[in-house]
């Protein structure tokens, strides 16, 4: 699964997610990715989120919408991302990851799997990583 979120200079947010599913899945099985609120969500009044991981778990907790909801309550993008994934783990024992941008440009990325390739760019700096705790930076 791949995904992206963005905030443009006009203050508009957007999110997108795309996937080929799970190896040897049942034909016709659909996970979270195309489900609005599960695989992705964007609202200028809170922010944008794209998710990845165990599709059925993500769908059950509406993970993307959960993150934006938490931002609506005042949580920062990073805290909202971590809190939503913790809730998913506690409620349905599912793992996954999210990338988030809040309406004011705050960035969140978190994962509860072994690895997640991620990258973000803001103010001409590219940040990226794969393992938990990594944050490499390149000036563009």
């Amino acid at each position: 699964t791949v995904g992206a979120v963005a905030l443009d200079k006009f203050g508009n947010t957007a999110a997108a997610t795309s996937t080929g599913g799970i190896t040897a899945k049942r034909p016709g099985r659909v996970g979270d990715s195309p489900i609005v609120g599960a695989g992705a969500y964007a609202d200028n009044e809170s922010g944008a989120v794209s998710t990845t991981g165990h599709g059925e778990s993500i769908t059950k907790v509406c993970l993307a919408r959960e993150v934006t909801h938490l931002m609506e309550t005042g949580l920062a993008a990073q805290v909202a991302s971590e809190t939503a994934l913790q809730k998913m783990a506690a409620r349905v024992q599912g793992s996954g990851g999210v990338v988030t941008v809040s309406k004011d440009g705050g960035i969140g990325k978190h994962f509860t799997t072994e690895r997640m390739a991620w990258a973000w760019i803001k103010e001409g700096k590219l940040h990226y990583g794969l393992e938990c705790g990594e944050n490499f930076v390149i000036n563009l």
Binding site: A24, R29, G53, G97, G105, Y128, L130
Partner: protein
Amino acid sequence: FEPVVVIHGGAWAIPDKLSSASVDGVCSAARTGYDVLRRGGTAVDAVEASVRSMEDCPAFDAGTGSVLNTKGEVEMDSVIMDGRRLQCGSVACVQNIKNPVSLARAVMEKTDHTLLVGKGANEFAEEIGIQTVPTDSLVTDDAREEWLQFMKFKTTVNVLFRSRAEQTALPSTVCDTVGHD
């Protein structure tokens, strides 16, 4: 507002042989999306461009590089959402489409619907002139190999654990290895 783009390439037990390509792919996707934003493009333009770049990269399970279902077929899902007025579009179980995210955007912009699936989604693609590609062009050698390994694994599991109750009691580590999109 200061433009921002944030990318992921999937959360799972990424094997070492895919780690460099995955990191390079997300960095490239971030640059692609950021270039769009720097040129004055919208957030929707940026996320579509970023996701297209990863759909075209065989290291990722989306577009080219998609995994195979039990029948050995490719079925892809995608969604896009515009935060301005909560407009959204998505497709599920589409086949033979190089960039499903662009088809999802067409659903958002050219129809009154939010989700089209399967044959109907492919017919919509044809209707609006989105070119189809041969399935083989979307399938990598790695995806074929993984599919073969999984089918062998599944056969072994079926033999070893004859009842469904026994299968659902498999260790979570096994489920984690095979159960992520």
